[in-house]
Assembly symmetry: C2
Homo-oligomer: 288 residues x 2
């Protein structure tokens, strides 16, 4: 595995692979790798000639009250895990390498940003699309890999690719789950024993919503109530229960097309999120 | 010459050339080609395996009171001229092909935009960088060609390329001039006979400024006065005389580094612009 910190080194390696017409799978991360990242890397490994991973804690996507400085970093461990996952090139630039002075041109996400987790993080996705535009230009990937756990991020990046005609394919990788359905997350270790037992309720609630839609329910209010009822049985505090079209993330009066059901629940020391995305069956069509 | 209107056709042709590792010279235009465009095309022809020209009147770079609808178009003539200039692929999309619905993500030029001609065209360069980002992604040029007649546009596009790490080289082609120094422009035909005789004063004034700097003058106010004195001898109305660092386009108290002297003069039926860009000799160093 090549570990490079400078853009010119990265580009030299990328050009070598381009000359051989190699397909490039790209996994952008902020490091402190967990199973989710490694699943993305393995997926990239299986479907591309080479795998590039970036580790860059992007200051532009942190708000003034967010934890940029204290965001966890462990480069030695990350390097080992990336190499084990089959990464060929690990790009670990510092902030100066990625942001050379005040920008002359900025990007602003006008849609899909001000809902779900983005509601409380103004400017977050502006930072995400800016750094990804730079990384896409440096790495020129054939495919780029993101986890559906952060379905809003996937929706925004689909918009980025479509709006600006990026010549690459986004692969949205399904959320990896524990045996009891709980979405894997580095934050699960902060749950108390009781909370850990309650936490599968998020996925259970979402699945109940999905099943109700399959059975013919099309009223988002009724789906909301079903999900809420299940979540109220936990000791957590419901942050949001949202039902939107996907990937547009627009509210629906009547469920149709592709939809997302998404929840966030605050436990004592961890805020958990989860979602399900599915096609609503044609209207009138009851599966039971 | 291949003339293509659809993105998928364009990409197919581009991919054929990429497989052959051809270098691609790109000349973006809004059509109604004149000698300036053809100079860019010839420059591209001389230094690349293939030449791609786009003709697209980009609505996003026109203000609400500007002449998008009435902007001159003559596709038949343009096709002939492009072919004669050695263009291999002429891309002529319609608006729907380039803008598929309301954008989710926008670009804003924060620097270099609100000076010179951009002062009176808010949003103009936002439209320019948006459409160029799309075109760069579709065409993946090795080199892209712009005329230095519009030096502000060149400065903004240099910022675009630098800020977002576009993997391409901008070639800024010097302004083509008549024998008497007047910058060539489609608008020169609107000058009266007397105005046509006066019009070389723009370049003469700029060169006087440049010579004064070469001789040791570093005070922008004195350079301004020199240029103004020359322009006041014409019947035109001075729109602006600006002296900035280049390509940053920031005001200078004392001339140093690379600078631009730029003027705009309104004659009865034509507004003419011109500029000179040069390195200021090291301080203290008098050439005379």
């Amino acid at each position: 595995m090549n570990v490079v910190t400078h853009i010119h080194e990265l580009k030299e390696l990328i050009q070598q692979h381009q000359r051989k017409q190699h397909s490039i799978g790209f996994v952008p991360t902020m490091g402190f790798l967990h199973e989710g990242h490694l699943t993305l890397a393995k997926e990239a490994r299986d479907h591309n000639d080479i795998v590039v991973m970036s580790i860059f804690v992007n200051p532009l996507q942190f708000g003034p009250n967010e934890d940029f400085e204290s965001y966890p970093r462990d480069m030695n461990r990350d390097q080992r895990l990336a190499e084990e996952a089959g990464v060929d090139i690990l790009f670990t630039p510092d902030v100066k390498e990625m942001y050379q002075g005040e920008p002359s041109i900025t990007m602003t996400v006008q849609k899909r940003a001000d809902v779900l987790c983005g509601k409380k993080r103004p400017g977050h996705f502006d930072g995400v699309v800016t750094v990804l535009t730079k990384l896409f230009h440096l790495i020129e990937p054939t495919k780029v890999y993101f986890g559906l756990k952060d379905a809003q991020q996937v929706a925004v990046i689909e918009a980025l690719i479509q709006d600006f005609f990026f010549d690459l394919h986004l692969v949205a990788v399904p959320t990896v789950r524990e045996a009891d359905g709980l979405a894997k997350s580095s934050r699960n270790v902060y749950l108390s024993e009781r909370e850990r037992q309650e936490a599968p309720a998020l996925y259970k609630a979402l699945k109940q919503g999905e099943v109700a839609v399959e059975k013919g329910e099309r009223d988002p209010k009724r789906i909301y109530q079903l999900i809420e009822k299940e979540l109220l049985q936990t000791s957590g505090e419901i942050d949001y229960i949202d039902i939107y079209s996907y990937p547009e993330l627009e509210p629906l009066q009547h469920l149709t097309g592709k939809v997302i059901l998404a929840v966030a629940v605050k436990f004592s020391k961890a805020r958990l999120i989860d979602n399900v995305i599915f096609h609503v069956p044609e209207s009138g069509e009851k599966l039971v």
